[in-house]
Symmetry: D2
Subunit: 346 residues, 4 copies
Amino acid sequence: MLKVGIVGGTGYTGAELLRILVDHPDAEVAMITSRGEAGVAVDELFPSLRGRLDLKFTEPDTEQLAACDVVFFATPHNVAMNSVPELLKAGARVIDLSADFRIRDAKLWSEWYREEHVCPNLLEEAVYGLPEIFGDKLPQARLVACAGCYPTAIQLGFWPLLEQKLVDFNSLIASAASGVSGAGRQAKVNNLFTEVSENFKAYGVSGHRHMPEIDQGLSWAAGESVSAVFTPHLLPMIRGIHATLYAKLRDPAVAIDELQYLFEERFQNAPFVDVMPLGSHPETRSVKGSNKLRLALHRPPQSDMVVVLAAEDNLVKGASGQAIQCMNLMFGLEETAGLGAIAVLP
Amino acid sequence: MLKVGIVGGTGYTGAELLRILVDHPDAEVAMITSRGEAGVAVDELFPSLRGRLDLKFTEPDTEQLAACDVVFFATPHNVAMNSVPELLKAGARVIDLSADFRIRDAKLWSEWYREEHVCPNLLEEAVYGLPEIFGDKLPQARLVACAGCYPTAIQLGFWPLLEQKLVDFNSLIASAASGVSGAGRQAKVNNLFTEVSENFKAYGVSGHRHMPEIDQGLSWAAGESVSAVFTPHLLPMIRGIHATLYAKLRDPAVAIDELQYLFEERFQNAPFVDVMPLGSHPETRSVKGSNKLRLALHRPPQSDMVVVLAAEDNLVKGASGQAIQCMNLMFGLEETAGLGAIAVLP
Amino acid sequence: MLKVGIVGGTGYTGAELLRILVDHPDAEVAMITSRGEAGVAVDELFPSLRGRLDLKFTEPDTEQLAACDVVFFATPHNVAMNSVPELLKAGARVIDLSADFRIRDAKLWSEWYREEHVCPNLLEEAVYGLPEIFGDKLPQARLVACAGCYPTAIQLGFWPLLEQKLVDFNSLIASAASGVSGAGRQAKVNNLFTEVSENFKAYGVSGHRHMPEIDQGLSWAAGESVSAVFTPHLLPMIRGIHATLYAKLRDPAVAIDELQYLFEERFQNAPFVDVMPLGSHPETRSVKGSNKLRLALHRPPQSDMVVVLAAEDNLVKGASGQAIQCMNLMFGLEETAGLGAIAVLP
Amino acid sequence: MLKVGIVGGTGYTGAELLRILVDHPDAEVAMITSRGEAGVAVDELFPSLRGRLDLKFTEPDTEQLAACDVVFFATPHNVAMNSVPELLKAGARVIDLSADFRIRDAKLWSEWYREEHVCPNLLEEAVYGLPEIFGDKLPQARLVACAGCYPTAIQLGFWPLLEQKLVDFNSLIASAASGVSGAGRQAKVNNLFTEVSENFKAYGVSGHRHMPEIDQGLSWAAGESVSAVFTPHLLPMIRGIHATLYAKLRDPAVAIDELQYLFEERFQNAPFVDVMPLGSHPETRSVKGSNKLRLALHRPPQSDMVVVLAAEDNLVKGASGQAIQCMNLMFGLEETAGLGAIAVLP
C-alpha cells in the first residue's frame, strides 16, 4: 500500500485526488495539508466524502511528507518549487500538478509566471507527466511535472500528425474551451455563477500561460520548433475541456481513413485514449469524472484541413487522474488502477 | 456471478443501472432490451460506456429474460405489469423501477394512472423496495416495487417522527424539488434546455402521481392513515432531489438533540442514510452519482415545527442505485456491493 | 427630467438601476459612485451598456449627491445609515435598497445585523417601499426603505389571506428559493459557478436576516404579531425568486374561487401584480428582467391548506425595479414609467 | 402604424418577434398564425406576455395575411416557399426568417435541404437580409431572406478583411458556438436539458446547412469564390452565438491598429455593430436580448494570423431583431426603432 501525501488539499484538484485515492486498491492517503484549514475534517469541506475518509487537514510538515512514498502538490504555481528540493533531498518522490516544473526553459517560465524560478536545476530532471508519450520515463522519475489540462488535450490530439509530419507546422490552430473548474476554487468575481452562467467568451487570445507549454510539447512531437495559435474560451459548465484542432495537410489527397488508422495505431496501448469511429463528435459529458481522452477526426468539405476533436475532464485526465496515472507507472502498478470510473451521464 | 437482464435500457434509469452494474463485483449484465434500438450497440447510445460494455440492445424475449437470475424493468409505468406475471411464472425474480406495483390498492392506482391494473393479485405480494424499512422482506421477494424518487426522500425523512408519533399527523408538508432527469429521456418540449434552464416553478400542486405512494408509506410509518401536502418543483439541473419537510411537534418542548439522536439511532444500520450533524444543510451535489440519502434536522425560530432536509440523487438512491441495493439484499450479497461510488464534486 | 444619483453602482442592483433608468422617460442618471472603481467608465464594467451610457464612476460626494432630486443606495447594509442623515439634511430624497431602514425596531435590527444602528430616529419616518401596500405614503416620503427580495414575494403572497383573517396565523410557512444574484457581486467561494451549478440546498433554516422583515410585514397585514417559518434555498440560476406559501384555512370549506376573487380584487389596481388563472404555476423565467410579481392559488387535495405560488425577478421587483416604482410614485410620475420591459423568454 | 402578420408564432423566433413588436413605436401585430395552437391565447403559451398582448393564434389565411403591410415567416425551412408566391401576388411584402430564400443557387439549396425549391424564380429577387451590407436594397424589397444566425456573425466578422483583400482567402476558419435556442422549440431528445447541460460538443463538422450560406456571403465580400472551414459547437446555455474567426494575413507586418481602424470605419454607420476596443473579449451575455453584434480583433503571438471574436444573440441579431431591423429599413422607419433594449445582465 503506497502512502500518499497531498499538499494543498482544499482546491478542486486536491478534492479530486481524494475522490480517486479513497477507492484506489494500492494507495492510501496518509496526510493532506492546508495552511488555511489545518485541524478541519476533510469531509466538512467536502461533504461528498462523509463516511469514506476520516482525515483532517494538517499544517505542511516536510519531515512527515518525506515519510510518504509519494507527495502530490495540488497547489497554485509557485508553491511546489519552494518545497520540492527539500523533499527530494529527504528521499520523497514528487508529482506536481502545478505549472512549476513543466517548462524546461527557466527564462521562458519566468516571462509567463513573472517570478524567478527557485530551482531551475530541477527543470531538466523533471519528467513531463504525459504518460501516453513519456510513460517509459516514469518508473525512474523522482519528480513529475504533470501536463496541464489544455496542453494534454491539444498535444495528444496533434501528436500523431506532427510526429508523422503530415501537416504544415505553420498552420496549427487550437480553439479550445474549458469548464469553470479549471480556474480553481479561489474567490474571484469573474468565476461567480452570476458572471459565468448563460455566457460564453474567449480569453487570453493575445497571450495565455498555457501557450509555452503547448508549444514545447508540439515541438517535441514535431522534432523542431513549432508554435500553435491557441484561443481558450470559458464554458458555462463545471467540468470538461473540448479542443477543436485545425491543421493543413501537406498532402490534401490523404484519405481520412489513413489518418484514422494512424491515430488508432498510435494510441492502441494507451488505455485512456479513445479514438472514436469516423464521424463522431466527442462530448465532454461522456468523460465527466473519468480519466478518458476521446478523439475524433474530420475532414471538412472543400478544404485541405484536418480537424481533430478532443474531449477530456479537466480535473481528471487534465489533472488529478493523470497524476494518479503517473503514480501508477512510477511505482509499477497497473496503469489503470483506481482509474476505472465511468462518466456519470446524464 | 448473478446474471442480470434489463428491460427498457434506453432511458436514464436503464443507463444508470448499466453504469453501476458494469463495476459490480457479483453481477453482470446478460441482456438489455429495447424495441426501438434493437441491434444498436449500447455504447453508441451512451458513449460514456465505450470500452467498458460490449453489448447490443435486443428485442424483449421472455424466455431469454427468464433465464436471468434477476430482471430489472426500467420502463415507463404500464409496461412491467404486462410482462411480469409471465416472467414470475417462468421462475424469474423481478425488480420493477416503475410505478406499476408500488400502490397496494389497485383502485387507487387506476385513479392516478388512468388504466386498469393488469395483475392486481400481485400487488399484495410485491415488496415495496425501500430497503431501510423493508429490507428483511427482500431475501424472500419474487417481485420488488422500487420506491419512487420523491417518495424515498420524503418517507425516510418523515419516518422516525411518524413512527414515534412525535408530530401532528395532520400537519405534514413536503416541499420538494427535482432535477430534470426525473422526467426521463422522452422528447418533450417542457424538458428542453431552453424551457428549463434559468427557470424554477412548482408543478402538480393540486395533484401529482407520487401523492398516493407518499401517503401510503407515511401511513405505514404512522400506523394509521396519514396524508401530506406535497408540492414538487422543477430545478434547472440534471440530477438531484431535495425535500424540505415540515411537521408540527406534538410537544414543542422537545429538544432538537433528542430528535437528532432518534434519527441517528433509527438509521444506524442503514449504510446509505447519512444523518448529518445538527445545523447542516445537505447539498444535492454531495450525493450526485452516489447512493446516499443525506438528512439534516432543524428547529426554525419562534415555531413549534421541526424541519427535515433531505437530499438524494434521483437516479441513484431514487431509482437505479436503490434497485441494485434491493438486488444485493434479495441475493444475500453485501448491501453496499457495487454502490460505493463517491459523488463527483464539483 | 429627474436627476438621479446612485451610491454603490458596481453591484448587481446598481447595474440593474442603470439598465432601467437609461430608458426611463422622466429620469436620467446624473452620477454614480464607487470608491473602488472611481474614474472607470461604467460600460467598461458592464459592457451591456456600451453605446447607451457615457458616464464614469466617481467618489461619493455628499454635496453633489444632494444636488440630485433623488439618491438611490445600492450598497451592502450598513453603508446607507452612515450617509443618509446628512443627505436628508441637505434636502435630498433617498431610496435605500439595502436593509438599513427596513426594520422599525432598532434593537431587533441590531440583533440580526450585529451593529448599533446609527440613526434609529429615522426608522419611524422611513416608508417601507412596498408600493402595493404603502403607495399612498410615497408622495410625501423623504426616505424609502425598499422591501427586500424574499419579503416582497412572501408578504404580497400572504397579504390578502392575513388581512381578511382567513388563515390560522400560527400556520404560516414560506418555502422559498432564490437565484444566485441575490447574493450580490462579491467574490465568495460559496457563489462560484463551480459551487452552485448542478446543486440545490436550503440555507439559514435555523435563522436568516430576512426573517424579522418578513414577520414585520406579515404582522402589519394581520393586525397582530405573526411569525412565519421561512426556509430559503439557493437555486442554480442567476435571477428569480419563487415562494411556495402554505397556510391553514380557518374554514376549510372556503372555495378556491372565493380566494381567487379576493386576490384579484385586492390587486386590481396593482399594475405589477399578476394574479394568474386558477391552476397556474408561475415560472420565474416569465418575469426575468420584468417588474412583475406573478401569483397563483392552489388547494392541495385532502388538506385544509391553501398554497400560494409567487414568482418575481429578485433584481427587478425584488430590488431595482421596485425602487424605481417607488421613485415614480414619490415624484408623481406614472407608476409604470420605465418599467414596461417584457421578460426575455426563453 | 404598420400592420404586421406573423406566420408560425409558436417557436422561439416567433415569440421574440412578439416581444420586440409589442413595444415597437411604429408597428403592431395584427395577426399571428399557428396550425397547432389556433384559438389559443398567445399569453397562455408565453406567460411572459401576460398583460401586454391580447391576441389569439389563428389558422393561416392568405387573404388576411395579405391585408397586412408586412408578413414575417418564423417557420421551419420549407414552409415559406410554399406560401410566399401567393402573398407577393396579393401585394404583401414578406420577411422570411427561415432558410428558404437565402441561397441564390436553387440546386445548391436542394442539395443541402433535400427538397426541390418551389419558386426558384424568386431567389434572384430576394434581398439577403444583412442590413449592414445590403441595407440600401431594403427600401425596394418585396421579399427579404434574413441572414441566418451563424452566417450573420461570421460574415460581418470577416467582411472588412475580405473586402480589402487583407487575408489569404484559402485560410478562413470559423470556430463558432451557439446556445440551444438556435435549435428551435421542437421536442427532440438531443435538446433536452439532461442532454445539453454540463456538456459541450462540436456537431456537423463534416457538413452543416449553414456552410453554403456562409460561403455565399464571404464570396460576395471577397469578390470571388471563397470557402471557410466552419465548425459549429453546442453550448450549455439558452441564447448567444460566439464566433472565433481565423485568417492568415497576406502581409503579417500589418499592425493591429490598422485593422482596428478599418473595422471601426467600415461599421461607423452601423448602429448595431460594436467594434470593441483592442484587447476586448466580447461576452455573449453582453448582448443577451439585444440586437447588437460585438466584434473584437486580436493578433495571437508568434503567428501571422488575425483573430476576430464576434458575439450576438442568436434570437435577436441572429433572427428576430435583424428581421425587424430589415422591416424598419423597408418602410423608411428609424433603423433602430423598437430595437433599443439593453442586455439583461447578469
